[in-house]
């Protein structure tokens, strides 16, 4: 059985662990063994994006040391994948690890990219009978050139109806530390995105980046919107069996 290493972004690890767990469920279902190198922490993107390259550099070097032996690395975030693949070579320019950074970057894949382009799987046997719209997360779209991969996967989900999100390629306004430094602008952009999500008629908005969804979700719930967010793996992890199991446990909880 082929083995993949998990690259779990810091905020997924600490704030939304179910994103990682769902990804593992899907990977195992399609026949991959997963390992989690427990020394990993963060790829360094927050410091890099804020201009603290001298602080980001040793963190990037640490990442490469941890993943240098891994054959394939899968990450539930287009943004963190971009950091490794697109930005490490520049961040580590002139250091001995640059060449290795390029090699590691070629083996790190965003989750939907891995499924469609590496594992050659578009039907993961999922079932999710809802209307879903896709928000194109910026780094996945413009740095990794991913657009059709997530849609291709969703088209094979039983019962799922894919609806068009107006202005799906427009940034949701998260932008990492941008959301804290320029909270008013970020929130207004999120508001625009939330309005488009509501106009789409979707029950759920999904994306290749759970960080966008964290932001959009907070804005949607603040608006008391009916639309919910769910990370791509959250949809793909659901099967008829898991839905039944969930319903059973909900029912038994109700009895208690």
């Amino acid at each position: 059985m082929a083995k993949v290493s998990l690259f779990i972004p810091c905020f997924v690890d600490q704030l939304i662990p179910e994103v990682g767990l769902d990804m593992v469920r899907v990977l195992r279902r399609i026949g991959y063994e997963t390992e989690f190198p427990e020394e990993q922490t963060c790829c360094g993107q927050p410091a890099f994006n804020t201009g603290y390259w001298n602080d980001a550099r040793p963190v990037a070097e640490r990442f490469i040391q941890i993943f240098r032996k891994a054959e394939i690395v899968v990450c539930p975030s287009g943004s963190c994948t971009t950091m490794v693949r697109s930005f490490y070579p520049e961040l580590l320019a002139g250091t001995p690890l640059r060449e290795e950074a390029i090699l590691v970057g070629q083996r790190v894949f965003e989750f939907s990219e891995f499924l469609v382009k590496v594992a050659n799987v578009t039907d993961v046997g999922a079932s999710f009978p809802h209307r879903v719209a896709v928000h194109d997360s910026c780094h996945g779209l413009r740095e990794l050139h991913l657009k059709q991969e997530s849609r291709e996967l969703l088209r094979h989900v039983r019962g799922l109806e894919l609806v068009e999100l107006p202005y799906s390629e427009e940034c949701c306004g998260f932008g990492g530390t941008f959301a804290a430094k320029f909270a008013a602008i970020s929130a207004a952009m999120g508001d625009t995105k939330a309005g488009n999500a509501e106009a789409s008629g979707a029950e759920y908005v999904t994306a290749t980046d759970p960080s966008c969804l964290l932001h959009i979700d907070g804005i949607l719930r603040r608006r008391e919107s009916k639309v919910r967010t769910i990370y791509l793996a959250g949809i793909l992890a659901q099967t008829d069996a898991s839905a039944e199991r969930k319903a059973r446990s909900a029912a038994s909880e109700g009895q208690r």
Binding site: I8, C10, V12, D13, Q14, L15, I16, P17, G20, L21, V24, R25, R28, F36, E38, Q40, T41, C42, G44, P46, A47, F48, N49, T50, G51, Y52, W53, D55, P58, V59, R62, C138, H139, R142, E143, E170, C171, G173, G175, G176, F178, A179, A180, K181, F182, A183, A184, I185, S186, A187, A188, M189, G190, T192, H215, D217, G218, I219, L220, R222
Partner: protein, 470 residues
């Protein structure tokens, strides 16, 4: 925090909350998007055209000294004057001195962002010289005593009703909201100015080195009148506008028009290269070109950032920018707004005062995607941030924050502990109902977002316990 930064934060927050503004700009940009997409599809190969433009500008910028001297020589051969201005003040002084010595009372201007950059209008008016903007959008914002909202569409933020009210108030006898009649009213008024002005000032879309001519494009024909009717024509241009050859316009002109407005070519494309020659029947008696540096040489010396000088001021990045759409053109408080402004302004006017603009971006990359000369705009924002941290001052709290961050992520045990503490802190804030208050470290987030669920355990803790999942 610099004063410009505080002003930006205040103004951006105010505009971000203005839903009417957001809808107005969305409508304007929607129609631009339709037009520019149609325009790009007319090209046999738009990507190849972009590449070609990038090559032309690369060649020009990397041989700037040579092409500028060639341009200067050709202009002088035809009897024109060329003045090299190191900074805004030198450029202003040359033009105001010229206007005073030639007894100029009225100046007509066609669109020039460099004239905004050096605050030329105010300098002339201080001397009692009347300055009339002749581009319709510029004319409107001048009547409103505003700066341009957008480098290509200066009055993008105004609707028909607002313009009708403005004309009614400022131009006697105009009481209509019919666009054609409004344009006719402006035209009537501007015609009188064209024929009574002694000096015409224009910008330049390109300085053509081998021809020694300036290339101008407008949709209203106003630049032609500015450059041919008054007896003195002054061209004001940044040094980066030079291109090697006349034939380069065959690519640059249509690409500029398409990226700027979606047109196959701008309505009026003009070349001007000197005063009236002995065998010519019209044209100005005097022709002056003011080449403005104003920080550009320093940018040229910076190999990593040099390509920012490739910009042809088409405005495509501004239209693509979701930040611009949210905060509007005036919030930036600078001559150049949107992505190109956020890249360029800190370089031309100093990282110390303007670094906040390079931070005011989610780094979405929509600008880079559309730039017709392929400037890697959002990556230049990253470089500006890096240089701000290394060469300028950042808040101590941020420096401390990243020192702490590094300490915690350089060890998995410390990272897990800090994560646990952060979640504990979040739970305490929630239990005490302090989320979003001044005591909440996550206030900027919690003020605008519904409270997120706080997981009991991290992924690594769950993994360790169950080795994954079922």
């Amino acid at each position: 925090m610099s004063q410009a930064s505080q002003e930006f934060l205040r103004s951006a927050a105010e505009k971000s909350a203005d839903i009417t503004h957001r809808q107005l700009i969305r409508r304007a940009i929607d129609s631009y998007n339709v037009a520019s997409e149609r325009g790009r599809s007319r090209f046999f190969d738009w990507e190849a055209a972009r590449l070609k433009c990038q090559e032309i500008k690369w060649e020009a910028v990397n041989n700037l000294d040579r092409y500028l001297l060639e341009f200067e020589q050709r202009v002088k051969e035809r009897g024109g004057h060329v003045f090299w201005a190191e900074n805004s003040e030198e450029a202003r002084r040359y033009i105001t001195d010229l206007a005073v010595s030639r007894g100029v009372h009225k100046v007509v201007k066609s669109k020039s962002m460099v004239s905004e950059e050096i605050h030329l209008g105010a300098a002339l008016e201080k001397l009692g010289i009347k300055v009339v903007e002749t581009d319709l959008g510029e004319y409107i914002v001048q009547l409103r005593e505003e700066t341009p909202y957008h480098i290509v569409t200066p009055a993008m933020h105004l609707n028909r009703t607002q313009i009708a009210a403005l004309f009614k108030q400022k131009l006697g006898g105009v009481d209509t909201d019919d666009p054609q009649q409004l344009v006719a009213a402006a035209r009537r008024s501007l015609r009188l100015d064209f024929f009574s002005a002694e000096m015409g000032i224009s910008g330049a879309n390109f300085l053509v080195a081998d021809a020694g001519m300036i290339a101008l494009t407008t949709n209203e024909g106003n630049a032609r009148l500015c450059t041919s009717v008054p007896r003195i024509h002054v061209v004001l241009s940044g040094i980066e506008k030079v291109i090697p050859r006349l034939q380069d316009l065959a690519t640059l002109w249509p690409v500029l028009a398409t990226a700027g407005t979606g047109q196959p070519i701008t309505c009026y494309s003009t070349l001007a290269g000197g005063p009236r020659q002995p065998n010519e029947t019209d044209g100005p008696e005097e022709f002056h070109v003011v080449l403005v540096d104003n920080g550009r040489s320093e940018l040229l010396a910076n190999v990593e950032e040099r390509e920012v000088l490739h910009c042809i001021r088409c405005g495509a990045c501004i239209n693509a920018c979701p930040i611009f759409r949210t905060v509007g053109g005036h919030s930036y408080g600078t001559t150049y707004m949107g992505p190109i402004g956020s890249v360029l302004t800190p370089r031309l006017r100093g990282l110390k005062e303007f670094q906040h603009l390079s931070y005011a971006s989610s780094l979405c990359g929509a600008c880079t995607e559309v730039c017709p000369v392929k400037i890697d705009l959002h990556h230049h924002l990253l470089h500006n941030r890096r240089d701000a941290v290394n060469e300028s001052d950042r808040p101590w709290s941020e420096r401390f924050g990243f020192a702490m961050w590094r300490w915690s992520v350089e060890d998995a045990g410390r990272f897990a502990m800090m994560g646990w503490l952060a979640r504990l802190g979040m739970r305490v804030m929630r239990a005490l109902r302090l989320e979003g208050t001044a005591l909440d470290p996550a206030r900027p987030w919690n003020r605008n977002h519904a409270a997120p669920p706080i997981p009991e355990k991290s992924f690594r803790a769950l993994w360790g316990k169950r080795n994954g999942t079922n």
